[in-house]
């Protein structure tokens, strides 16, 4: 067999490989790039008097976003997303970290317990929270029985309820990514640090924390991005009183029938979210996000 033959065969191999992945590219083009381009184009069009859009280029929709009412929704979204992410990190990091230190058997059990809720639709699980929070609901009755409060608290349809719902919905993603990072951690390094005189806290900070950073950061990304867009939690648990960009986009699209404005809002939201992720990576100096990017 001479060299030329091998070359052709190899070339044929690559051609076959590229043919094999072609559907994947086609799929991505059709269902990812396509809608994205459509949305960007839409955001520069003008709305029609009653229904649909007019083919007429304008920057009006972006100018609209600069109105204080709409800018405020971006601020509200960032605020809620940051608060949610912080709380999720505080709860999820220790959970994921200590979960990785459990025995193999217990790891499996805890994993199962974490997975089971996903068998139910997240919408139905949120209705569960309504039962807990509502007037004379589970929480009210418990607190009154314990004598902590005398009258029913009006917990449902408050900001607190929204934050609780957001944290609940997103904490598993933090746990999973921290866990997968901590799983790979070489505990001998921690032992070595202890041998060299570090306190357990020093050892955690200099060794374990550093090495689980990619997990924490991918958890942050996995929490932050969805919490910018999760609008139904603010709808259901907040009684629609917290206006997030997600709510605004949904309403402009479905009710005001202002598709170009909804598209412009989505474009800005996407740019903003990408910038935030870039910022995280720059600040943390972590290039490798666990399982992401």
């Amino acid at each position: 067999m001479n060299a030329g033959e091998t070359r052709t065969r190899r070339r044929r191999g690559t051609r076959a490989a590229s043919l094999a992945v072609a559907p994947l590219y086609a799929f991505a083009l059709l269902f990812v790039v396509g809608p994205l381009v459509y949305m960007v184009i839409l955001s520069f069009l003008r709305r029609a008097e009653t229904w649909g859009v007019v083919r007429e280029l304008t920057l009006e929709n972006y100018a609209h976003i600069l109105e204080p009412v709409y800018l405020k929704t971006f601020y509200e979204s960032l605020k809620l997303a940051s608060l949610t992410t912080l709380l999720v990190a505080l709860l999820g990091y220790p959970f994921g970290y200590f979960m990785a230190r459990l025995s193999r058997r217990w790891k499996q059990r805890v994993m199962l317990l974490l997975m089971i809720p996903f068998w139910t639709s997240s919408l139905i699980r949120l209705y569960g929270w309504i039962i807990v929070f509502r007037a004379n609901g589970v929480l009210d009755r418990l607190l009154m029985a314990l004598g902590v409060v005398q009258a029913p608290l009006k917990l449902l349809y408050t900001y607190t309820a929204v934050v609780a719902g957001m944290v609940y919905a997103l904490v598993p993603f933090m746990i999973f990514s921290v866990y997968s990072s901590a799983e790979k951690l070489d505990w001998q390094l921690v032992e070595a640090a202890r041998d060299l005189g570090a306190t357990s806290f020093q050892a955690f900070l200099t060794i374990s924390f550093r090495l689980t950073m990619p997990g924490l950061l991918s958890g942050v990304v996995l929490t932050f991005i969805p919490s910018m867009g999760l609008f139904f939690i603010a709808d259901l648990l907040g009684g629609n009183k917290v206006v997030l960009v997600g709510n605004l986009i949904q309403e402009q699209l479905m009710k005001a029938r202002n598709w170009p404005f909804a598209a412009a809002l989505s474009v800005v939201l996407m740019i903003l979210t990408s910038l935030m992720i870039g910022l995280y990576r720059r600040v943390s100096g972590v290039k490798d996000l666990e399982g992401l990017v």
């Binding site: 008097e49 004379n136 005001a256």
Partner: protein, 355 residues
């Protein structure tokens, strides 16, 4: 014994099959007549549809749509054919008529036309009642629990009362809610004056501390569970709330009443317009209408049926006898600029409710 039973059952089955064939109605050429009804799911009690078939021999082919817009698209694609009778909302019927997709009704075939409540006639979508017959009507009311409210609510202005702090639930329909403020200011729902809409927005900001929930789905549950004491909601929700708790009070706001109508029309090229006329006439019979509205939970548009509605439903399915159309106004589409002003005012208001 067992065999005898089986044979009897089989024979009974055959007999019923044969009976089924017997009642099947056929036109002159021996074809079966059907009525192609196109509307939302669950608009009529099944018994009423069955009775119509039993009486006229016309079988009903019921197909549904979810959104008015879907109906319009399908009707356009069928060039006004395929369907014999459509029931949809007022604003979309305006477009259907303008597009020439509806046909004029033949009044001589609708003997019960006079039963229609004139309050619901001559509206913007069909000013001379040439194309449509109203079916259910949605009437914007205020519902409250008298035990949880200290004041007597008679109109929208009362919702601004301080005693209702954090105690009101409203639907997420900004034309209805902004409309409340417009009504308090003595304006029309359909004003296109941006300054007036902005003034209504300012007025709404004062209402914000009283608002506890803004949502479209199942608002009646929050009223029933005591989460809120007052609600401004859709007619079907009012009906559900009243059925569950008859002590709730339903108020026709004194500033004026917004309403919407779902109406029946016959498409331009309906395959069987005769059956459609027959069906409209059948539904307009007072005793049939009364049963339909009790089942549907929307306001009765059949004046002759009003008195047949059971007393327990009367308060929320019929207008009081002394009622006049003077204060009533339908919500219509407004221009893009006014629509945007409404959307902005609404977003400001919602954000203020969360403060």
């Amino acid at each position: 014994m067992k065999r005898v039973l089986t044979v009897t059952l089989v024979l009974a089955l055959f007999a019923s099959l044969l009976a089924g064939c017997g009642t099947e109605n056929r036109d002159g050429q021996g074809r079966k007549t059907t009525l192609n009804l196109f509307t939302w799911e669950g608009m009529f009690p099944q018994e009423v549809l069955d009775e119509f078939t039993a009486e006229t021999g016309v079988t009903i082919n019921y197909s549904n749509f979810d959104f008015n817009e879907t109906m319009l698209t399908k009707l356009q694609a069928a060039k006004g054919g395929d369907y014999d009778l459509v029931i949809a909302d007022d604003y979309i019927i305006e477009t259907v008529i303008a597009e020439g997709l509806a046909q004029k009704l033949d009044r001589s075939k609708i003997k019960n036309f006079g039963n229609i409540n004139p309050i619901y006639q001559g509206q913007f979508y069909d000013p001379h009642d040439e194309y449509t017959v109203p079916y259910g009507a949605g009437v914007q009311t205020i519902v409250f629990d008298p035990k949880a409210v200290k004041i007597d609510i008679t109109g929208y202005a009362d919702l601004w009362d301080e005693s209702l702090r954090n105690n009101i639930g409203i639907i997420a329909n900004y034309r209805v809610i902004n409309g409340m403020a417009l009504k308090v200011l003595g304006e029309s729902y359909n004003t296109e004056d941006i300054d007036v809409i902005n003034a209504a927005g300012k007025k709404l900001l004062e209402l914000a501390p009283n608002i506890r929930i803004i949502k479209d789905d199942n608002l009646q549950d929050d009223l029933l569970s005591g989460e809120i004491a007052v609600a401004v909601m859709y007619t079907s929700q009012v009906t559900m709330a009243k059925m569950a708790n008859p002590d709730l009070k339903v108020v026709f706001p004194k500033e004026g009443i917004g309403f919407g109508i779902m109406a029946m029309f016959i498409p331009k090229n309906a395959p069987n317009p005769d059956a459609a006329h027959q069906f409209i006439d059948f539904i307009l019979r007072p005793e049939v209408s009364a049963r339909c509205f009790e089942w549907l939970g929307y306001y009765c548009t059949n004046k002759a049926a009003d008195e047949l509605i059971e007393p327990e439903y009367k308060e929320f399915l019929t207008l009081p006898p002394e009622f006049t159309s003077a204060g009533m106004e339908m919500i219509q589409s407004v221009g893009a600029e006014a629509e945007e002003a409404h959307a902005r005012v609404w977003t400001e208001f919602k954000a203020a409710c969360g403060q």
